[in-house]
Symmetry: C2
Subunit: 208 residues, 2 copies
């Protein structure tokens, strides 16, 4: 693309570095921004820049945070003894948005993946074990995607915690709501069958 303005060209190039945004979309955004007030555009630019400069990570759970401890860890109405272990902040957000979980989190920052050179020491696993040991944690919930890396990570953590006496659970794997049984892969269907629930619990879930 040829641009009649270097200013536009720069802005398009910077925006098109974002994931999922190509040159055409970037140009559309730029032309949209040109029609806005200067104050509106500055507010956008400043909010993005400030976020990057001022963001911190919670020293307890490694969630993003405005202060030293995030708003979830510092919330007295959340069960501090129930820790939900997640791969990344996006998964944390996904669980938060269900509004079904009232405990706290621990963000690993990835999954164990020997092929990619990621071992337990590259992740926040040591800090999870430190956090669990000694404190009155009653349950650790593994909310990790059911992939090879996910299962490896769950296995590693559960090995480390097996003698702690803490209840270890994992989120249920199975056929998604609205999912078609015939299109489910064999592994999911097999697990879903072996982990079958009494019907009264299912009805309770459906109504709750």
């Amino acid at each position: 693309m040829v641009f009649p303005s270097l200013l536009i060209e720069n802005a398009v190039n910077e925006l098109s570095r974002l994931p999922g945004i190509g040159k055409k979309t970037a140009l559309r955004l730029v032309l949209h921004l040109l029609k806005q007030d200067e104050a509106t555009v500055d507010r956008l630019a400043e909010s993005v820049s400030r976020m990057r400069h001022e963001i911190r990570f919670c020293r307890i759970c490694h969630n993003i945070s405005d202060g030293e401890v995030c708003s979830i860890c510092s919330n007295p109405r959340r069960k501090q003894d129930q820790i939900c272990v997640v791969e990344n902040i996006r998964d944390l957000f996904a669980i938060e948005n269900t509004q079904q979980f009232n405990g706290v989190y621990h963000v690993l920052g990835g999954l164990i993946s020997p092929l990619d050179g990621i071992g337990p020491e590259q992740l926040q696993i040591r800090s999870l074990l430190d956090r669990v040991s000694g404190s009155g944690v009653s349950e650790v919930i593994m909310a990790i995607s059911p992939t090879v890396e996910g299962d490896t990570t769950i296995f590693y953590i559960s090995k480390k915690l097996q003698d702690s006496g803490i209840k270890l659970t994992t989120i249920a794997r199975g056929i998604a709501f609205g999912g078609e049984l015939e299109y489910a892969d064999e592994m999911t269907l097999a697990r879903s069958l072996s982990n079958r629930l009494p019907l009264d619990r299912y009805v309770g879930e459906g109504n709750g």
Copy 2:
């Protein structure tokens, strides 16, 4: 959505005001930006802000410009006597990207649309007529979308210029390359038929 950080929430809200970007996409962009260097994020923020503050509009053709006159109008290798009239900057970019046009432009800033309260005086039509009169312009090409508003605008401008002796043309309407004849609307097909070309010109175009 509930956010554990006000900084994130602000950035997501600002980004999701952009066209085609919802809260989920905005969050994805924000989490991506959090993983980048501070310098990278600042470069993005600054390029957007600077563009809005420093952009100017060419006093000749009303294209966006870094200076008083845009790079197209000030380019001595472009035919200054051939003016292509377009609705907006996006259409100008589309034509520039074909690399087939070597004249200059005139950006109207919209189309005549009485229903929306847009008359000729809201558009850069007066400046087009001023520009054309007296100078040695040889051709005015209407590169306007074939809509009701587009045709109204073309009709208005051509009325004003009919006594000027300047050659007035419009881009060809017809079946798009790769378009299926049977799915074309009647108007397009009818115009395409009445404006049929000698076969040797078509072959020339296809090869050119």
